[in-house]
């Protein structure tokens, strides 16, 4: 099979790697990811001036909103409740006493492209916002939705 290097199509998520160090050491590879999606928010605010010039101001913080869905509860717990994600030994979601959340220092999304190559995206300081089941009901496999925000998502390789 030949390789068309000019086209790169992502075909599935592979894993999310999270860890406490920027260099990616001591990280945990969270597999079994059903889907990942993200969108950044618009930083622009349109200021209306009657009969005047159109003004767009770069006012809002341009963060990224991420939504991850998984089915494997076991790996979800390992990744978010048990894996150290910063040098102060915090976990992403600390439910020991209170429901406290901490930014994840190292976070990479790994995808597979049409050639079978791994494509990596980094998510800078991923902060878990909410975790919850889509719905737990008879006859359907429960899907867990994790919503998060981060500073930016950037293609690494």
């Amino acid at each position: 099979m030949s390789n068309n290097s000019s086209v790169q199509i992502l075909i599935r998520p592979k894993s999310i790697v999270i860890g406490p160090y920027e260099n990616g050491s001591s990280s945990y590879e969270w597999t079994g990811i059903k889907s990942i999606k993200w969108n950044d928010v618009t930083p622009w605010i349109h200021i209306d001036i009657p009969s005047g010039p159109m003004l767009h101001q770069h006012i809002r913080s341009p963060h990224v909103e991420v939504e991850i869905s998984v089915m494997d509860l076991d790996k979800l717990h390992t990744a978010l409740f048990n894996t150290t994600i910063d040098t102060n030994n915090h976990v992403a979601v600390d439910i020991n006493k209170y429901n406290r959340k901490y930014p994840i220092t190292y976070c990479r999304f790994k995808f597979i492209d049409q050639n079978g190559e791994i494509i990596e995206y980094s998510a800078r300081f991923l902060r878990i916002a909410t975790i919850g089941p889509d719905a737990i009901e008879l006859g359907k496999e429960t899907r867990w939705i994790i919503r998060a925000t981060c500073d930016l998502v950037k293609k690494e390789s």
């Binding site: 099979m1 030949s2 068309n4 000019s6 086209v7 075909i11 597979i112 050639n115 079978g116």
Partner: protein, 285 residues
């Protein structure tokens, strides 16, 4: 792309298992070397008068799981013509499709011991077999004396659903391709796996034990396919199917006859789908 071959390489590499043992009819293991058998009728004697022929049948051993696309059985017919003591050595060299070779010197008597094996790579396609007589005495192949090397043309066998007793046939089906963008096609390539099991008698115990083997084999193949969803060579997604029994063959529990004298056969098939992408740089868009 030959997905059937890729699947054919994959499945037996996992199924080196006793579950495919044929209830004592064959005991060798699928992953073992191929055994060399001889069906010489005159064995046990040191001296022979006149001519006779020995058929060295290098065949896939038991489990009797066989795939016809990538590893055909080959048969070496060697004729011995002796008037004196009959011993010697043969060097058998096998050249595979990928140009790798393997060879072994086998002492050659009329009784080939079951420990003599050839072909350690049953998953590779055999291109040619060279046989050299390295011992003394005379060995003839197709009436030619081999004191020097001789190349045999590999005789690929034809597929027979009744023999060996259990086999897996892996067939490519036409692929469906969908244009994605700029020279990239998504290919959904279907492959049919058909498992055949020939029963040799109707004893209740025999039927029961064979059913166990039969279901275990199917389960094992399922397992291999599920485990290798993202692992099959060059494919991105392997989607397993479900087994469909040939209803008359299994529902009656006694097998299926389509002609009066034909042996009973169980048959079950499933179609798996392999997804891969075909990439070609466009000349113009």
């Amino acid at each position: 792309m030959d997905i059937a071959k890729a699947l054919g390489d994959l499945i037996p590499s996992y199924i080196g298992l006793n579950i495919l043992n044929d209830g004592g009819f064959e005991t060798a293991n699928w992953t073992n070397d191929w055994d060399i058998h001889t069906d010489v009728s005159q064995n046990n004697s040191q001296h022979y008068e006149g001519e006779y022929s020995a058929r060295f049948n290098a065949e896939c051993p038991a489990g009797l799981l066989r795939k016809i696309f990538s590893t055909p059985i080959f048969i070496i017919d060697i004729e011995f013509m002796h008037k004196s003591e009959f011993t010697g050595s043969l060097n058998i060299a096998i050249t595979y499709d990928d140009n790798t070779t393997w060879n072994k010197t086998i002492s050659c008597t009329t009784n080939w011991t079951s420990g003599d094996t050839v072909n350690p790579y049953p998953n590779k396609k055999v291109k040619q077999i060279d046989i050299v007589n390295v011992g003394y005495n005379y060995v003839f192949v197709d009436n030619m004396e081999i004191n020097e090397g001789i190349t045999l043309v590999v005789k690929y066998d034809e597929f027979d659903i009744k023999d060996p007793l259990m086999q897996l046939l892996i067939e490519n089906f036409p692929a469906k391709s969908t244009w994605i963008i700029e020279g990239v096609y998504r290919i959904e390539h279907r492959v049919r796996l058909t498992l055949y099991r020939k029963l040799i008698h109707y004893g209740e115990e025999f039927i029961t034990s064979n059913k166990d083997i039969w279901f275990a084999a199917k389960k094992m193949i399922d397992k291999v396919i599920i485990k290798n969803k993202f692992n099959l060579s060059e494919t991105r997604n392997l989607i397993s199917g479900t087994w469909t029994d040939n209803i008359p063959s299994i529902a009656v529990g006694r097998g299926w006859k389509n002609r009066a004298k034909e042996p009973i056969l169980w048959q079950s098939e499933q179609i798996v789908t392999c997804v891969y992408y075909y990439n070609e740089e466009l000349i113009n868009e």
